[in-house]
Symmetry: D2
Subunit: 262 residues, 4 copies
């Protein structure tokens, strides 16, 4: 399906403030960006670079006053999310080098502390896809998805203690559980068509049978319409913005996703 | 200045034909892409990747029949090209690792064969910027800039023998001469506002005093308005398209650059 | 000074077990590896790759029985650690792209939770080197260095709560404090000549005034003799070995560093 | 088989001369480096980096006088070279991104000028391995292998005109022919056990059926015993040394490869 996505961030800046932004979807295996726009108001110089995960990031210094970042894109994305019951686990020795880093614990995914729990949740499942599907189901049933409930990211340990969280938090726990079973897992931040309430979204991917598969415990049933903006080990890597210096006092965020005829 | 660039390539395809395209300008130190569009007609799946030089490339299989690639962008670019007379040569041992590759000879820049000539052309000049400026001047005076005169890229040796060439060919000779003096040099393909006749353009950059500077022997005087699409060692790396399989029988190319109020 | 370093790890393996090892020092800005040896007993196929941080890693499957990894090197390293009181803070907008990732929180360095504390510790210091020196001093005075006190890595939050830790733990807290001040910081694992008791060591580096500087709160006074094996965001990235599958029941580790005439 | 390789280069230096060296074999898919040594006489600071092709390179400034670089290694390498008659061609659209660059023409491999010839040489062969085997056979029969016959690298066009060349030259022509058929091909520099006369050696690899295969037209029959030092598009990328500034007046080179019990 063709989607038109947009995100507008507004900040009230008091002193010149460095930002690193990550809001520019790129064409990739799962999506094609046909049109894209990136507007800064007021207009300031911005410098773009590719981070270690392949994301396009922008650096700039926001001037005092109202500062708005507006991005929009027209993206072709899959109508359905690929599912692959029975797809086999990839032994560590056979993983591509570039995927190994997604086995390690990270800021919000303390996979070193979830071994027993993951084994328990996936008991009786075939190693690989079916394990991750069991984790996704377990998250759906066990952890209350509460949009808006946390401002700062919660780590997997914290989410598990609190038994509720936002999309990002559920992804953190899912990722930690996968990694503790030696299944590479990564976080994705982006848009999801039809999300209620509409906002930026986060989900996770697991590497199974030679490719990445999408999982999302916030949705009862996975439909298509996912548009990825950034990939990383967890929310620390894929913040849509990082701001340095004195905290910025106020920020509004408006996200829209609509379907285009096509 | 704000520019709107566009390029439309039309091919007549007989059998399904793999293409690698490089037509998507990226924001960088010298330019900011505020809006961008990429349209394939008919619409086919395309996969994007970043090559070794940081260029965004697209892979696709063109189906039989008319096939059109249309790209457009709105780009903020410098009004003036930086010049730096007297800027010093960087000793090889002080070059950044990532720049060293631009000292080596490449397909169309046989820098291993121009040592004496480069020394001669730059006699009496300070090592660094002034040497490259002397090379640029020498190219302007010596090699006839003849747009449309060569279909396939000419190497520096060939350009020097023929004493004329298109923008790409002059760049090849300029790059070969720089490298033979141990000055890193690379090719840039992109747009130039006001180019006559309008077409895609090629120029070169040399690494001096810690940064890349723009040189373009096809222009009597360098003005601003350059929009880079791709960087590489020479035309082999920055072909705007590479096509594999039986040669495609026909191709039209329409390039437009106009200035936006800004 | 010239050092001869060696490390022998012995494992008792029950089932074929995949390992990723990181034990091979590389020549770099601070050290030159003149001779190097890497012996697996029994000999098994090992595959080497470079991870995202530039470390040389080896993958292999350890067979059941005793399994020994022995590495040794002769390395030229600095007699003194560079110190640079007054060296200035680099504004975020001026940091090299490749350094930005070292500003982010990571598994064991929850820099997002140390802002006030870091500000407090460094009150009155010039931004940059002097801030990090203050952090290093504060760690020395406040956190008890207790070799052997923790088996698993402690995160900065945990170290701060416990007020003691091994070298790795102190480094985690130092790194978290630096990053919370927008000073890039990274962990180094390696050897230190004269360490008591001799073992593998960990310290941290901070990026100041355009380069990385060494800090080590476990030593009263920094002398030379550091040999780096691996760099990363924290201990999750620079484990000298990661083992997958059922935990390995026993491991011995013998580390030697002696000075060579030279 | 286990091999002990060594290479000693001696230069007579008149003025301080920057060098980039590439003499350090690395463990990889085909070989395991168990022991390695790198000695500079006189000892000077050397800085190591990894180039775009994954090779370990060293930068240094050679001081006036005699300057010697000695490297030695103990390497486990395959007893036999893998052959795979019938292994299929990989369509361009299915090649890994990182392999695409090896389809492009390069300094010494003008693959853009060999289309008809390659088609002719491989007439009647299955696309893929059999085509490359036909090219290797054709080189063996047609191009006289004349060790010591060329000092500077010859390009594929030049080798084809001259009908003779050293190992490096034959590899250039083989690579150019492969690429003109859309088969990725790259140059390898290294050691070969039993080479007569003993020297550094060069051969090429082609990417077929999802991996790289070794080809070497200088040998009547491929036996094992290859130790790779460097990979690249052609000799421009894998010079074992690049020297900058006034040419160095004299150089001796001694290469030894002997078999170890093991």
């Amino acid at each position: 399906m063709w989607l038109r996505t947009s995100c507008e961030l507004t900040f009230l800046i008091e002193v010149p403030t460095p930002f690193v932004l990550m809001l520019r979807p790129r064409s990739g295996a799962q999506q094609w960006v046909a049109r894209e726009e990136y507007r800064l108001t007021p207009s300031v110089p911005a410098f773009e670079f590719t981070d270690d995960y392949g994301n396009l990031c922008q650096r700039l210094i926001a001037p005092p006053g109202d500062f708005t970042v507006y991005t929009a894109a027209e993206v072709m994305t899959a109508d359905h999310v690929d599912r692959a019951p029975g797809a086999p686990f990839v032994e560590v020795q056979n993983l591509p080098d570039a995927v190994l880093g997604y086995l390690l614990p990270s800021r919000y995914c303390e996979s070193d502390r979830f071994g027993w729990m993951a084994t328990d949740i996936t008991a009786g499942r075939l190693p690989g896809y079916d394990q991750v599907a069991a984790i996704e189901d377990w998250l759906r049933v066990t952890i209350r998805y509460a949009p808006g409930s946390s401002d700062i990211p919660l780590s997997a340990v914290e989410v598990n203690a609190r038994q509720s969280g936002v999309c990002r938090d559920l992804a953190h726990l899912g990722i930690a559980l996968c990694r503790s079973l030696a299944i590479p897992a990564r976080m994705v931040v982006g848009y999801l068509y039809g999300l209620e309430p509409m906002d930026l979204h986060a989900w996770f991917e697991a590497y199974i049978a030679g490719r990445w598969y999408t999982f999302d415990a916030t949705q009862v049933e996975l439909k298509g319409g996912y548009v990825a903006i950034g990939y990383g080990r967890d929310a620390a890597d894929v913040a849509i913005y990082n701001q340095f210096g004195p905290a910025v006092s106020s920020a509004a965020q408006q996200v829209l996703v609509r379907r285009l005829k096509g």
